[in-house]
């Protein structure tokens, strides 16, 4: 039993599976973006080849940079991203780690991941790295609150702060459109879904919030001085974060892997449904990423604070009102 549990953590649906899934999802995002831009796009598993190539490269540190930080933070980012992946509901609504309030622990880990980028750029003693990390942390500060608010709204719908309970509730809610109030909830639900998708783009530093590593302007932003295995780990944690966030949104908004009792195939079908929902979210992310162009850092922070945050607040208040008076 113990061995089975360990295998679950390390292989399926734990660390190894998360890494494999992230590589595939990353490939999918790149491929979809390429096809939408009328390009052929990378061959299958190209992100894995990139990762392996970077692992084999030599480490080069700039003069007067803080080597310890440049060496440690990629490891921190990778382990944080891997820890986040253990919370994900993959073959059952319950993730490998699950406790009351794990949703906000997840967001806390996301915050650590995002803000660690600041130290990387700052300690690398490079003007590109410095300005890139400043921008990254500004964008991080602005997307975090709308994202938390929209997830809080969904947590309010399910009246729980546990990912598994929200997932179960959302999986069931589609079949129980009983009262008028529940149908009304679709409005704030779609609003919050869009807001969390947009904030996810910010978390992953995709277009339009990619000012943190605007290639034409500041080379690779806070990643400029990273080399070899360090860069590989940072990239891998980026891949993992794509999985983490898309699976989380698929779980919280679309119901993730539901439990249909169909005998032998229950787990398989559950997993399949999970995959379909995740792919939907990934497609939406790739689509928005492709059709939008990079915003300046002041534009993206302004957009997030001026429009996204009030909208998210409005969504949460709407949910509370509907719950109070609509009888949802």
């Amino acid at each position: 039993m113990m061995i089975l549990r360990i295998l679950e953590f390390f292989i399926f649906p734990g660390a190894l599976f998360a890494i494999v899934l992230s590589v595939i999802l990353m490939w999918l995002v790149r491929k979809l973006a390429a096809r939408m831009e009328n390009r052929v796009g990378p061959p299958f598993l190209q992100p894995l080849y990139d990762f392996a190539k970077l692992l084999a490269k030599e480490r080069v540190y700039p003069e007067k940079s803080m080597r310890l930080v440049l060496w440690l933070i990629p490891i921190l980012q990778f382990s944080v991203a891997l820890t986040m992946s253990l919370f994900l509901p993959i073959i059952s609504p319950e993730g490998l780690i699950s406790f009351d309030g794990d949703l906000f622990f997840f967001l806390f880990l996301l915050g650590i991941h995002g803000s660690s980028a600041f130290f990387l750029g700052w300690m690398s003693n490079n003007p590109y790295g410095g300005s890139g990390s400043g921008r990254a942390v500004l964008i991080e500060l602005s997307f975090e609150i709308p994202l938390s608010l929209s997830l809080a709204g969904i947590a309010n719908v399910a009246r729980s702060m546990r990912i598994s309970e929200i997932t179960l509730y959302m999986a069931g809610v589609f079949f129980t459109f009983g009262s008028f109030g529940k149908i009304l909830l679709i409005i704030p639900w779609s609003l919050l879904l869009i807001i969390s998708l947009i904030s996810t783009l910010g978390a992953l530093e995709y277009n339009p919030f990619s000012a943190g590593h605007a290639e034409t302007e500041i080379v690779a932003g806070w990643m400029t001085e990273l080399t070899g295995p360090d860069l590989a780990l940072v990239k891998m944690s980026e891949f993992l974060n794509l999985t983490n966030l898309s699976v989380l949104i698929a779980a919280l908004f679309l119901g993730g892997p539901p439990v249909y009792e169909i005998g032998l195939y229950t787990r398989f079908v559950t997993f399949l449904v999970f995959l379909v929902k995740t792919l939907l979210v990934v497609f939406a992310l790739a689509f928005i990423k492709t059709i939008s162009s990079r915003l300046r850092v002041d534009q993206s922070t302004e957009g997030m604070w001026k429009y996204l945050l009030p909208l998210a607040l409005g969504g949460v208040i709407l949910i509370l009102l509907i719950q109070q008076y609509g009888g949802a």
């Binding site: 979809l32 096809r35 009328n38 390009r39 052929v40 689509f287 059709i291 939008s292």
Partner: protein, 125 residues
């Protein structure tokens, strides 16, 4: 920043998603070039009379004709020097050098860029 622009972009993206891509997966497939594309110069040794007109006109000194034996000559086209100007093709009276539409010439070693062929001098009749 108007919403209609995003709608247009979104429609274009969706149309592109289901149409044939403009690019190819490079090392496996290549873009086709036209017939009269000026690629690498290739010699037809049977036609060459060793008049050395091309060697003289080549602006980058890419062509070298060396005598090996009584009749045997070595005709070297150094693609590392060639600028694909097409002068050699224009000047040859015997239709024996052509710029073909081969453009993948990358090599790891400079020496391998030399295209060497042997030409035998024809006896005067």
């Amino acid at each position: 920043m108007s919403i209609t622009k995003y709608l247009v972009a979104g429609k274009t993206a969706l149309v592109n998603l289901f149409s044939k891509p403009n690019t190819v997966l490079f090392p496996n497939e290549m873009v086709e070039t036209s017939e009269d594309y000026r690629g690498t110069p290739v010699l037809v040794p049977e036609n060459c009379t060793l008049c050395k007109k091309c060697e003289r006109i080549c602006p980058t000194l890419a062509i070298k004709i060396e005598k090996l034996g009584d009749v045997e000559h070595q005709f070297i086209i150094d693609l590392g020097r060639c600028c694909y100007c097409g002068e050699c093709e224009a000047v040859c009276n015997f239709d024996s050098i052509h710029l073909q539409n081969v453009w993948m010439t990358a090599e790891m070693d400079r020496e391998k860029l030399k295209r060497i062929s042997t030409v035998y001098k024809r006896r005067k009749k």
